[in-house]
Symmetry: none
Amino acid sequence: MLQVFGKVKELRLGLQRFQSVIRERIMRPDDANIVGNVHGGTILKMIEEAGGIISTRHCNKQPGDRCVAALARVERTDFLHPMLIGEVAHVSAELTYTSRHSVEVQVNVMSENILTGSKKLTNKATLWYVPFSLENVDKVTDVPQIEYASPEQEEEGKKRYEAQKMERLESKERNGEAIIPVISPDRQTKEEYTVGFSQSSLIHLVGPSDCTLHGFVHGGVTMKLMDEVAGIVAARHCKTNIVTASVDAINFHRKIKKGCVVTVSGRMTFTSNKSMEIEVFVDADPLVETTKGKYRAVSAFFTYISLDKDGKPLPVTSLKLETQEEKKRFEEGKVRYLQTKAKRQAEQERQQ
Amino acid sequence: MLQVFGKVKELRLGLQRFQSVIRERIMRPDDANIVGNVHGGTILKMIEEAGGIISTRHCNKQPGDRCVAALARVERTDFLHPMLIGEVAHVSAELTYTSRHSVEVQVNVMSENILTGSKKLTNKATLWYVPFSLENVDKVTDVPQIEYASPEQEEEGKKRYEAQKMERLESKERNGEAIIPVISPDRQTKEEYTVGFSQSSLIHLVGPSDCTLHGFVHGGVTMKLMDEVAGIVAARHCKTNIVTASVDAINFHRKIKKGCVVTVSGRMTFTSNKSMEIEVFVDADPLVETTKGKYRAVSAFFTYISLDKDGKPLPVTSLKLETQEEKKRFEEGKVRYLQTKAKRQAEQERQQ
Amino acid sequence: MLQVFGKVKELRLGLQRFQSVIRERIMRPDDANIVGNVHGGTILKMIEEAGGIISTRHCNKQPGDRCVAALARVERTDFLHPMLIGEVAHVSAELTYTSRHSVEVQVNVMSENILTGSKKLTNKATLWYVPFSLENVDKVTDVPQIEYASPEQEEEGKKRYEAQKMERLESKERNGEAIIPVISPDRQTKEEYTVGFSQSSLIHLVGPSDCTLHGFVHGGVTMKLMDEVAGIVAARHCKTNIVTASVDAINFHRKIKKGCVVTVSGRMTFTSNKSMEIEVFVDADPLVETTKGKYRAVSAFFTYISLDKDGKPLPVTSLKLETQEEKKRFEEGKVRYLQTKAKRQAEQERQQ
């Protein structure tokens, strides 16, 4: 596990440094819920900050346009252990693959209890960045190629690249169908445990601190807002201490400009015995520019679990389905759940 | 105007210090909108922080239960000048009246451009605080009485006290009728300039930084969220640089506990030639405690104006009224607007 | 200069790792003034966060009471280069000496422009921490001793330890005389360039995010507030883009507990041709607990310079002295200024 620290890796490989980025930060009350568990969104934001730094630095390594790397996609990521207030979060990032126009970054997060010395791996995330020229914000610049430890490593990286490229295209088509969710109905009239009862949305006026040098929202800020809404949906359903268990692959299709009003809405789609799947949408409203209307910027599935006082998973009350649409989404969620479960079992067997 | 700074008052009167609180803070990008105007809500939050400190300090001056002063009411306040990023905000607060169980605090805010030296009075606000025991959060403690410069001063304070006491009672009755606003309808289907088009709501999970030592939300935090929503409603309607012009008296009827999910909703009620009135509701959802359901914590009317590039007021497009309810609210808003206009004219004549 | 990165240092020494702490963060608009220069106080806060993590982690390395390291003293630190929005700040910390009850931490800050690749050393700071037991907040725990690369290294560390120990004692005596600064007089009546004209103060209600696990304010938070006030004083005097040039040794004599109201006041003491010295006091008011009155927690001297559009130092208008006290403080400031100048010249000669 100590291998995740890039410095040790450099010693062993003795190759061109992949310029690991490492940051350590102590978790404060504002990073966590009232039970003391750090928000999944806080961790996603730290992950993206590290990824953004390492990608932007790398992409500016050669002569040519100055550029800023924008987050294009985050692969599915699991939250392996809760992180607590007072612990130190170690975020280490390194470049693992480069295509002509994109960069793959692997980010690992470890939580360290500096009082007891105990350390735990909390997240492993894979992010894809695309560099855009500072001069011309729509121009994608060329990425300096990295060297690989072996031809196999490059080959596997290429496979991952092709796979995510395909998924992004599929997701983009689905995103194009302007599916606007039902804005939160009047909760007072809804029964407990229905989709409408826990449905939530928040709005956020994008400010300067949320944006990159380009003036577009950081992917990490968006993910943090999405997790915030997903958390409220889960909390309304369970009324317990809920935490992020995983986030499915997120594709950032369209940029969100400074000054937009962003509406982040979430609704529960599926519940298993001990987990909840929540679908989150991010819609951006340019406000001032009336040529462009409101548009769907991002969407993703968050999985939450419910914990008791001792941090043990509690059973989750089944989602009460009322409409045909809700039943359809439940079935689709069940498929995703079973697929993930199968993948996990396959990986465990592979490791034995 | 020089006298509103209590420090000078202390020197001249030579009386018991009313323990003026003064704070100065430079305005940052996050305090303002993208045009550089500081948010009305940021100023309201600073005003309340100063009021809270001076009241809590005063109420702990005598032996007995330690207590924390909670904001009960803010009188109508006008935003006289915009404040800009880079300016220094001076907030000075002083106690002006004490009853057995409440404290009246006068807070003035001045913006100073430290490069040019120019100063402007931006706000004058009157706040009422009630001290609650730290031991027993429902017990109101006795307030140490202040001394007055003259019997007339005490008499006028008493009148203000009686007036606000009555208004609070009336407002409490109206608040008690569970008036649930229609949650923002699907904006996609709404015509521009209708009530539904600009209607907005946000949710916020109350965290430790939002709360007092008691674990209840600071009045200033609530006001800042309310102004945020009102601002989005105004921006959606006008699509220009909009700023807070005034806020009607706000009564904080029910405390909001840490861990609640707060839903802040706003809708436009009335438009005049150059102003917009927005009604804002704050509903608190205890989430975990299921004995108490969701409840109305605060409501208030915010007035916004629309400014051009040079900061001059622009005409406001009339609100398109669609339902009987909306027409009724428009008439009520018109009455409030004319009443305020009359009061202002009366005061101007009095000063001549 | 890559040597300041502990990972490389570890390779060369091959000794027991001092577990360097490294953090990298991109500087955002809120970290800087409106001209884009990162606040000295922002950097001081990052420095202290890194020092706190490495000390606390080290002090918990052995069986015994769990403890949290509290900042006791920061040696004089210079700000060698301005840091700008968009740059990445690298903060690396390592342990350099341990006495029975204290830890010396060396922190280096480097700013990196990820677009151009240029790197600059911005700060070198030395901090002293003392570990307090979590069980008994007044009990100082024993510090695990570190190993030194050579006897000379240990000897030099011991000299530094003895020197700071003596200075802390002297400073503590001076701090004891309850000298309360005159709260900002009515600036309206003051002439430009006088002490009273630029004098400033701010108050801050200490919240949970400001505090350590013990519930006491982080030294870094205090330093950030101090730099904020010093900056306002300097800005009022010069009316230009002013930046922190250096901070004299700061001793943290008395802890500040969560819930206190902290008053930070600053006044200009001395001006040279191109610099300003500002004295900053931090007074803590327990607010709720009246057995303890208001007390002086920290004091320090900040030196600021004035920069033109191109970042070149501008001449500073002389301070207009009005009272005997002000003249006395000016002379004392002049002595400090000349002493520092002499030390710097001596070091430059030594390096040649």
